[in-house]
Symmetry: C2
Subunit: 196 residues, 2 copies
Amino acid sequence: MKGYFHIKDEIRILGIDDSALISDTITIVGAFFRGGMWLDGVLRSDISRDGLDATTRIIEMVRQSKHFLQIRVIMLDGVTYGGFNPVDIIQLNEETNIPVIVLMRNLPDFEKIETALSHLPEKEKRMKIIKKAGNISKVITKDACNPVFIQCCGIKQELAARIVNISSTRSNIPEPLRVAHLIATGIVLGESRGKA
Amino acid sequence: MKGYFHIKDEIRILGIDDSALISDTITIVGAFFRGGMWLDGVLRSDISRDGLDATTRIIEMVRQSKHFLQIRVIMLDGVTYGGFNPVDIIQLNEETNIPVIVLMRNLPDFEKIETALSHLPEKEKRMKIIKKAGNISKVITKDACNPVFIQCCGIKQELAARIVNISSTRSNIPEPLRVAHLIATGIVLGESRGKA
């Protein structure tokens, strides 16, 4: 039944984050985790800054991975990577057959996003992809004062919330995303910084 | 008293590994860990393949890190990085004031190393640095059938063995080294592979 599956503590999750915007080509990093505990693999790819290739590049990276058939969930840190390069989570789900969970620290400010997009080509196309991510729900993980917000595709929000909870072992952010962030910033800047 | 300190489960360890030999500049990665559990930072630097700059580049990377004063132990995966670029662990210990533990899966074959070095300039200098790492002792971590071997500087071997044990939570290799290896190979090759 689509959207339903049993959740183990060691559910295999691929968390994907991008690096700092210091060039036209932005490194993205996938951290392949067992639940919130063990890093079992690292993937790398590149996308163009403010481009429109994030969706296809992520699909390629996932499908080419030796871990492809083991990945039970893909976690994204928001739906824009490398500036305003939007990820179409419906296409990502369809072309990998893996549920997608988008995690955000704050509710997106669509007005602000629209203003930012107005300086870029294909504004409507970008906005449409961003809006496709759909309903947003709040999830309390480690810290009731710091909830996170999620969107998802190919999985029910209640189950997605449970997976976000299971994998947030160290902070209020799931380990696969926290670690993908540390790797992406550390590799590109020489030392990791900031928060996923 | 030099060489003695209390060991907490969350002792902060910097594990350093190198990437595959696919160019003349070799990426090295530092994984800053709490014991065998949590990745709290990622460092990156470069050394030259078969060069003689590994010691100074690692010292720089460690000293420039925002985590410098928190690092209680540096763990190395053998004493040669980027091919046969040797790390002087006595100099590394002296110039960082941090104990150094070298970890090996197998006992080094010095005869084989000498043969390999004969194709490189400054063979004697390299061999001297490699030999400076001193006594080797065997440590059983997760798996009695797969012991590891260590050398150390600035710390007693018994204490070093305890730290290796505490931090080998996932396999017979300490997490800081296992993860540094995943990151270094994943970033350079596009996907992690092999063992630290």
